[in-house]
Amino acid sequence: MITHPRTEELAESVRLWIDEIRPTLDPRNAFLARVAANAMATIYRELTQGPAAEARAVEGMREVLGSDGDFAALNAELCERIRSGELGVETPGLLPMLAAMARDQIAIDQPSYRPEGTPPPAA
């Protein structure tokens, strides 16, 4: 991949432009433009954080499942073995692994979201 500009920089430049024109739009389009800017920000985070998150997920799933494969194959196997009841909340390592995956994914999709269990914001 070329670096001048990098893909995430393209995404960032589009997001900044959308934010620039937002104040000129009617309320409905201003709202949609905000959503579009958020989408560009998500793309940016996925490009920059996604590969490491996926690598961690692959490693975690390999460990819990005792199998090998790429993300899609491991994820499908994990789903199937939970669905069949073979794996459950009592399975050693399963919940911590899923919690780590959820943390990585929310950091990409919606970093401002405060999940269940988050302490109150500092006053």
Binding site: V35, T42, C79, G88, L95, R103, Q105, I106
Partner: protein, 331 residues
């Protein structure tokens, strides 16, 4: 069919306010994909009236819809209101003469519905500690009304809900291990059946009009009304997606479980165990996760083109982040 709502409201003003009644305001408020809300006002023989019109903008299909018709919604508001529930006053149920399609009119209630304002705006600091208890009281005001037999409201319980949402989830083709685990876990923890009551069905922060002084002013948005476990309505307002940045305050981002349950019981409702509420709360996160997936699919399959839809698809991970904590804590 495009309806000129403004023109129809002129005619409606004359019908409600008497000949010569003048429309003094008509503006469209928020709207979903299929529902429009209009604020309007007129000066008539009986004085000025400030009203809200709620109308469906796409045809209603009772076979596939999860929601009830607007006529049913209006009649439920009337029935529960007559029984003391905190609901708006229905002014008029529209008919063919009004040319507005499926619609009804209610008296405008002042206050705030934006969830984040309720949880964080200093205007609500004083009343906030009272809100969870008031929500319990408001729920009993709804649940105590017997479900009108002629409305054929859907009856659901935990297993029916799990079946329904699992079917929808499977049909999406998505593979999400945390949702799988939530289905499996909840199926093992379905609470014992209770006598079903009338439920609001969408009782959450965002669908309640709050007054900065008095608290709960009116429970709005009745389209998902059905019959089932009273703890379902409690669990939904405790689902973290509707706490607007305050997960430390489980009821709507403003209050505690104990106040909600105690308000309900003190008003006359039965005592409800917290674990039952937590079951429905967890199912609420799961249900919202599946709904986010279907909203993404409505875009992928070309039904809705708005950029909003694929982005809502990325909200599945918020429900996963919540579900995994609930799974760790256990019910």
């Amino acid at each position: 069919m495009t309806v000129d709502v403004r023109a129809a409201l002129e005619t409606l003003a004359a019908r409600l306010g008497g000949e010569g009644a003048k429309l003094t305001e008509a503006q469209r408020l928020s709207g979903g994909a299929s529902m429009e809300t209009w604020a309007f006002a007129f000066d008539g023989a009986g004085g000025a009236e400030r009203l809200i019109l709620r109308r469906r903008s796409v045809p209603f299909d009772p076979e596939t819809a999860r929601s009830v018709s607007l006529q049913t919604e209006a009649r439920l508001i009337q029935a529960t209101g007559a029984n003391g529930a905190r609901v708006p006053t229905v002014r008029h149920i529209c008919d063919d003469q009004d040319g507005l399609g499926e619609a009804y009119v209610m008296v405008r209630v002042d206050g705030e519905t934006l969830g984040r304002k309720i949880t964080s705006d200093p205007r609500f600091d004083a009343v906030r500690p009272a809100l969870a208890r008031q929500c319990g009281e408001a729920l009993w005001g709804i649940h105590k009304t017997p479900p009108p037999a002629d409305m054929n409201l859907k009856v659901v319980d935990g297993t029916i809900e799990l079946d329904r949402y699992e079917e929808v989830y499977r049909a999406t083709g998505a593979q999400r291990p945390i949702l799988e685990l939530a289905f499996q876990y909840l199926r093992k923890h379905v609470p014992a059946p209770v006598e079903p009551t009338l439920l609001h069905g969408d009782f959450r922060n965002g669908n309640i009009m709050f007054d900065p002084q008095a608290g709960v002013a009116a429970v709005l948005d009745w389209e998902l009304a059905h019959v089932g476990d009273p703890a379902e309505d409690m669990g939904w307002i405790c689902t973290n997606s509707w706490r607007f940045g305050r997960p430390d305050r489980p009821v709507g981002g403003f209050g505690d479980y104990a106040d909600l349950l105690e308000g309900y019981r003190a008003a006359g409702g039965r005592a409800i165990e917290l674990s039952r509420v937590r079951f429905w709360q967890m199912l609420g996160s799961l249900r919202w996760g599946v709904m986010c997936l279907t909203m993404y699919l409505s875009w992928r399959d070309g039904m809705v083109k708005s950029v909003e839809r694929p982005m809502i698809g990325r909200r599945v991970s918020e429900t996963e982040a919540d579900l995994v904590v609930l799974l760790e804590e256990g019910l």
